[in-house]
Amino acid sequence: MTTPAAYRVSHLDALEAESIFVMREVVAEMERPVLLFSGGKDSIVMLRLAQKAFAPANIPFPVMHVDTGHNFPEVLEYRDQRVAELGLQLVVASVPEALANGMVREASDGTRNRIQTPVLLDAVEKHRFDALFGGARRDEEKARAKERVFSFRDEFGQWDPKNQRPELWSLYNGRHHPGESIRIFPLSNWTELDVWHYIARERIPLPSIYYAHEREVIERDGMFYAVNEFFRPRAGEERFKAQVRYRTVGDASCTAAVRSDADTVEKVIEEVAATRITERGATRGDDRVSEAAMEDRKREGYF
C-alpha cells in the first residue's frame, strides 16, 4: 500500500507527539507531578508542550523553580510573566533561604550548582511531588544519553545508572513506593537544533539573553563570563565589551556566553547548525570539572 503524501509526519511533529504522549501518561498515572521551570529554553518548550497536551484545559500541575539566587534578571522577569499568563502555581525552592537556615553551606568557590540538589530534594519532600518533569535532553551529555524517559529515583533522590528499568515501545513504568519519585524527560529525543526549530515554528518568545547583545565580559578557559554581582573577575582578567548570547541559561555564576551576532531565531538556527562545540561544553564551567561530573551530580539527585 502506498502512503499518500498527506500522511507525512515531519520530525518535529513526531517529537511533539511523543512528548505530549509522555506528559499525558504522567498526569494520568502519577499523583503529584511538577514541572521544573528555570526560564531556560528547554523548560520553556516543555511548558508549551504541556499547554498543548491538555488544551483546552489548563496545565494540570504546578511549576517549580530551583532558585540559586544567582539569576539573570531577564530570566526571572520572563518566568514571572509566563507564570502569570498561564495562571500557574509557582513553587520556588530557594537556595538563599536554605543557606540562611543552615540546610546547606556555600561552596568554597561560591558556585551553587552542587548545593541546589539538597534544596530541590527538600522541596520535593515537602510538597510530596512524585513526578518531576525536567527539560534534559540525551544529546546534551553522555551520562544523559543513557537515561530513561521515566527515570526512577530512590527515596534519597538518587539515580542508579546500573539499575535502570528497561523502557520498551512507549510503555513507561512510573510505579514507585511512597517517598520515591520519577524524573520525567519529555525532551529526551530532541536535539539543541530541534528545540530551536520548534521555537521558530511555534514563535515562542524567549528571554532576551538568548539573542546577541552587547555585554561586559571576561574570558576564562576560553569561555565568556558576564561580569555581575555574582561573578567577579580574578586578578589579571581583563574586562571588555563583546557581542554575545547565551546558549544555555543556568546559574549566573557558572554559565558562560558565546560570541555571537545571532539576534533573531533564524540566525540562531544557522549558528547552531554550524557550530562544532556542544552547548554544555561551550557554556558550562561546572561540566568541565571531571570526565564524570554530570554522572556524579545525577547520582546525587541533580536534574
Binding site: 500500500m1 502512503t3 500522511y7 507525512r8 509526519v9 515531519s10 520530525h11 518535529l12 513526531a14 517529537l15 511533539e16 507527539a17 511523543e18 504522549f21 499525558r24 501518561e25 498526569v27 494520568a28 498543548k52 491538555f54 488544551a55 483546552p56 484545559a57 489548563n58 540525551r138 551529555e141 553522555k142 544523559r144 544519553a145 543513557k146 545508572p161 546500573k162 535502570q164 528499568r165 528497561p166 523502557e167 520498551l168 515501545w169 512507549s170 510503555l171 513504568n173 510505579r175 514507585h176 513506593h177 529526551s188 529525543n189 536535539t191 537544533l193 521558530a200 515554528r201 533564524e266 547548525a273 554550524a274 557550530t275 562544532r276 562545540i277 556542544t278 561544553g281 570526565e291 554522572e295
Partner: protein
Amino acid sequence: MSTEIMASANAEARAVAGAGPEARPMDLLRFATAGSVDDGKSTLIGRLLYDTKSLFTDQLAAVEAVSAARGDEYTNLALLTDGLRAEREQGITIDVAYRYFATPRRKFIIADTPGHIQYTRNMVTGASTADLALILVDARKGLVEQSRRHAFLCSLLRVPHLVLCVNKMDLVDWSQEVYEQIADEFTAFAAKLDVPDLTVVPISALRGDNIVARSENMPWYEGPSLLHHLERVHIASDRNLVDVRFPVQYVIRPQSTTVTDYRGYAGQVASGVLKPGDEVMVLPSGFTSRIAAVETADGPVAEAFPPMSVTVRLADEIDISRGDLICRPNNAPAVAQDIEAMVCWMDETAPLRVGARYAIKHTTRSARAIVRGLHYRLDINSLHRDESADELRLNEIGRVRLRTTVPLLADEYRRNRTTGGFVIIDETTNRTVGAAMIVEAS
C-alpha cells in the same frame, strides 16, 4: 580510528544538517545498531556522526584525552558512547545509548545496543521502537553466533527493515567473493525468520567506504551507500493505516467557566486513520458512536493517523475512561483475558515462574496477570525449543500463557506493534521484568 582519517571524510558528506527553519520537512528514522566493538560498530557510529557534522570538537577532544590517558594506540570512539564511569573503567557497554544525527533529508535516532550475549535485554529494548536495525559483521570472520542472534531478535521484535553491514572489507582485499559468501549465508538464514526487508552493504567504517559515498575500491558493488539507504528507505508504509486503534490515555474535562461541557479523549493514534463522521466502537463496553471532532491544541484536524497525539470527541455521551480503546465496529481487536505471548525475561534477581503473579502494562491499560504455563524456552542461537523448561531467567525467551484480571484490547504483535506488546512488572519491586509480544489473544 584517528581523527586524521576521520577528517579526510568525503566532502559530499559535509552537507549541513538541518540549516534553515525546516526548508524541507525532514522525517524521523529510528534505528538500532547491534554488534560488538570488535566488529567496528563504534567506528561506524563515529563515522556517521562525524560525516554528518553531528560530532562535536569538545566531545572528540574529551575522547582523545581519555584514550591517550589509557594508552590506547588510536582514538577509541567507543568512549563516545560509553558514557558511564563503570563502563569506561571496565571497558564494556552496559546500557542502551541514544545518539542523534541529521541530514537534510532525515533526523536519525540511533539506539546503540551492546552486542554481548548477556545484553539481549538491551537489544530487545532498542529494537522495540526501531524502524530499522543495523547488524555488523567482520568480513574476516563472517557470520558468528551473535549475528544470527541479533537477526532473530530483530525478527521477534518485528523491526521492518534490516541492514547487514559487512565491515572491514579493506582487510579482505575488497573481495567480492568474501562479501557474497557472507551475504548469501545471511540471506539464507534470514529466510527462516520473519524479515520483511533485507539490504546487505559491504563497507569499511574505518576508511569510509560505502558509508556516505559509493566506494571506489568495490566497483563490483552496485547498491547504495549505507547513508544513502538510511536516508531513503521507505518507512511511511510501515505504519498500519488500516486498523483503527486509539487507546484512550486521558480524559480532558476543563474545570473552567469559559469552556463548559467539554469532554475529549486524549491519546496517540496507534494505527489506522480517524476522521470526523466515522462510526466508532468503544471497548471493552462495545458502545458505538460517531467521531464529532478530532482536535489538537492548534485546532481541529481532518484526519488523525500514527503517530499523532490528538483529542477525539464523540457525538454521544458514553462512559469512557483511560485504558479503553476506540476502534471501528467491523474491525476490532480481541477483548481477551487468555494471552499467549513470546516473553523476553529481563530481571536478574528472579526468574519468571509458572504460577507467579505480575502487574502488566498494555497500551494505556494496567492489569494483573498470572502465569498459567510455559510452553517452551527458545534457544536463540539454534532456535531449538526446550519444552522441559520450567522458568525463564534473565535474557531468556519463551512462549508463555497468561490469564489477566481484566480483558486486554489486544492484537497479534505481528499485526500491530502497539496493541500487540506489553511489559511485565514485578509488583513488589516495581521493576520492569519482562517484555511480551502477543501471539494469540482470546
